[in-house]
């Protein structure tokens, strides 16, 4: 009891300190860093940066969800609440990555864009990898939203329902695989020619 009384304020101070430090560093970074140099001169540089940020966050959050999904499949998971939060965030990030991905797709297909370059120089990169990546990335949204719905709707049933755990484990594993395919191909294509 006494331990809790002393520990809780300390924890709150640490969290408040982190938040304050992050905000201060964010302001310093935001106003002093050469963002234009970092992101490039293209009209789509900000949009493609946002797409990349959301895709990267999606992979990080999706990987954490994938690990919990694996434990769920094995029947070892107790942290259902954590998985619900991660799945919800994954759904939001999938939507945002797709939304901004649509936006920069205009630049990809536009005159002098990467599409023209790939078709001229490496047609197989466009026809196989890019086309596949653009389509399979969309798979992440329905799968993430369906998994999130099931996690919230059946939050009290998982402990006693093995079939439900298996179904959800399969969906999360599929979603994670799709995320990784889309992310790796996207990163590789961007390395060859950015928008």
């Amino acid at each position: 009891m006494g331990l809790n009384f002393e520990f809780k304020p300390l924890k709150n101070y640490v969290i408040a300190g982190w938040v304050a430090l992050t905000v201060i560093l964010g302001f310093i970074l935001g106003f002093s860093a050469p963002w234009v140099e970092l992101m490039g001169q293209s009209n789509f540089s900000s949009i493609s940066t946002l797409h990349g940020i959301f895709a990267t966050l999606g992979v990080i959050i999706g990987s954490a969800a994938g690990y919990l999904g694996w434990r769920l499949l094995l029947g070892h998971l107790k942290a259902y609440r954590d998985l619900r939060i991660l799945a919800t965030l994954s759904s939001i990030l999938a939507f945002l990555a797709i939304f901004f991905g649509n936006w920069i797709y205009k630049s990809y297909r536009g005159p002098g864009g990467p599409r023209e370059y790939f078709i001229a120089q490496f047609p197989v990169i466009h026809e196989v990898f890019f086309e596949f990546k653009e389509h399979i990335a969309l798979f992440s949204l329905p799968i993430a939203v369906a998994a999130t719905f099931i996690l919230w709707k059946y939050k009290d049933s998982f402990a006693a329902d093995e079939n439900l755990r298996n179904a959800l484990g399969v969906m999360i594993a599929s979603g994670w695989t799709i995320l990784m395919i889309a992310f790796v191909l996207g990163a590789a294509i961007t390395k060859l020619m950015a928008v």
Partner: protein, 119 residues
């Protein structure tokens, strides 16, 4: 009381509906990609479908229509399946297997080397 709450099992029909709807969405995308690649008329119709509501859809071609068809297939099927299955207890393992097969087919339908074989 807490233990009771933790072990309560709901009817799983709504979970099956969510899974199947997601799979139908993926298949809608895969099939519209096949149609768009194999037929110029279909490609034009699919593109027009995307242009009907997505801003700047001209610039992203038939992709706009394919994602619209995915959203429609997913949303409408979820609505229907939700009302059909919501109070039912189903064999979820069978639905999981159907989900895996449907997703594998949808993946095949967007894999260009496979689509090229059908041309």
């Amino acid at each position: 009381m807490e233990k009771e709450k933790q072990t309560r099992v709901k009817k799983n029909g709504q979970a099956a509906a969510a899974m199947m709807a997601a799979m139908i969405g993926l298949l809608s995308l895969g099939i519209s990609n096949l149609a768009s690649t194999l037929s110029k008329d279909s490609k034009q119709i699919i593109h027009e479908f995307g242009k009907a509501w997505i801003p700047g859809a001209d610039a992203i071609g038939p992709y706009s229509g394919k994602e619209s068809i995915m959203l429609l297939g997913w949303g409408i099927s979820w609505l229907i399946l939700y009302f059909v299955l919501r109070n039912r207890q189903v064999h979820l393992s069978k639905f999981t297997l159907i989900f895996i097969i449907g997703m594998a087919l949808a993946t095949l339908f967007v894999w260009s080397p496979f689509v090229d074989l059908l041309k």
